[in-house]
């Protein structure tokens, strides 16, 4: 379980970092790469949170990860 959490955290950081790169690079109309990367970040974060909650509820995670 711990490795899954670490992988999710790394993916979240990667999507956030890519969004920062797009903030720097993209200008003008029709540029949506930043908001898309941030939306992926939010989706991954909510998935991780729900996974932690479900893991605890179904007994896959005990007191500590």
């Amino acid at each position: 379980m711990r490795i899954v959490v670490i992988v999710f955290l790394l993916l979240i950081v990667a999507s956030l970092a890519s969004a920062l790169l797009f903030v720097y690079r993209d200008r003008g109309l029709g540029r949506t790469r930043t908001v898309k990367a941030l939306a992926i970040r939010v989706g991954l974060s909510i998935a991780l949170f729900l996974m932690l909650m479900a893991g605890y509820y179904f007994g896959l995670i005990t007191h500590k990860l």
């Binding site: 955290l9 903030v23 949506t32 930043t34 908001v35 939010v42 949170f49 932690l52």
Partner: protein, 284 residues
């Protein structure tokens, strides 16, 4: 011949940097006086906060006016993007230091104190564990913070605020101003709710769990990490309020909204730091 549009705008000398320095001096002096029970400490700290608010209003306002009057060209825009990137780099290093301190205490120093060498030379009966519950000089019993309850609710609140901000972001790009305004208002309200619950959790920790900043390395790292994160939520919410004020005045366009995007990214960054805190501090 240099084209007018290519000239780099250089503002007039500003009084705000010196006001910022005065604010920091007053705040630091006031806080130190307050901690050492000097009577005027609170008043000096409050004066520092007031000077800081004056500086923020004045400086933000000056930059916004310069931007809206069209003084900034593409090169100035590039400077803003670079400065934001370096600011973020400093923030990453800031939190890396505190996460590093937590890692060092948990993975290296506390286990090392329980090694045979240290038990023979220093502390014979020490059994390392985390949260640590014994110390050389004795330690008041305390209850460590659980992930359930307020921390889990606060995680959900911050993640929801990330979703509402992204919704507002799409609204700006699609020129749906109502969606942009509502998304920003919801994000700010969720941020304030997070801070309120965090304050409640601190009061609960101090009064009912005997968990304090002085509760060994666990208490120190817990309050330093979560406290500085709370400060960053406050900074982020303040910036979002400024952005909302600008949106209400009709600022930002689908093709030109770096100010909005920089603040939105900062909020997402603070959100991710909390997610890491939730996993590392509360769950591990």
């Amino acid at each position: 011949m240099v084209d007018q549009a290519q000239k780099y705008y250089v503002p007039e000398p500003s009084r705000y940097p010196i006001f910022g320095s005065i604010a920091l001096l007053l705040m630091a002096s006031g806080a130190v006086m307050w901690m050492n029970n000097v009577g005027a400490g609170k008043a000096v700290l409050a004066a520092g906060v007031l000077v800081l608010i004056y500086m923020l209003f004045g400086w933000f306002g000056a930059v916004i006016r310069e931007n809206e009057s069209g003084k900034y060209n593409k090169r100035v825009d590039t400077s803003f993007r670079w400065s934001m990137s370096w600011f973020i780099f400093s923030e990453v290093m800031f939190f890396a230091a505190f996460f590093g301190a937590l890692f060092y205490a948990r993975a290296i120093s506390v286990p090392d104190l329980g090694s045979l060498e240290h038990r023979q030379l220093l502390w014979p009966n020490f059994a390392p564990r985390w949260p640590e519950s014994v110390a050389p000089g004795g330690m008041d019993p305390f209850q460590p913070m659980e992930a359930w309850g307020i921390p889990a609710i606060n995680t959900l609140i911050l993640l929801t605020s990330g979703a509402t901000l992204t919704w507002a972001h799409w609204g700006l790009i699609a020129n749906r101003r109502g969606q942009l305004k509502l998304g920003l208002v919801l994000t700010i309200l969720l941020g304030v709710l997070f801070l309120g619950l965090q304050a409640y959790e601190y009061v609960h920790a101090y009064t009912e769990m005997n968990l304090k900043l002085s509760t060994g390395i666990y208490g120190s790292t817990f309050f330093m990490l979560t406290g500085f994160h709370g400060l960053h939520v406050t900074i982020g919410a303040t910036m979002l309020i400024v952005i909302l004020g600008r949106v209400l005045r009709g600022h930002f366009k689908p093709e030109d909204h770096f100010g909005f995007e920089a603040v939105a990214w900062y909020w997402h960054f603070v959100d991710v730091v909390w997610l890491m805190l939730f996993v590392v501090v509360y769950w591990l």
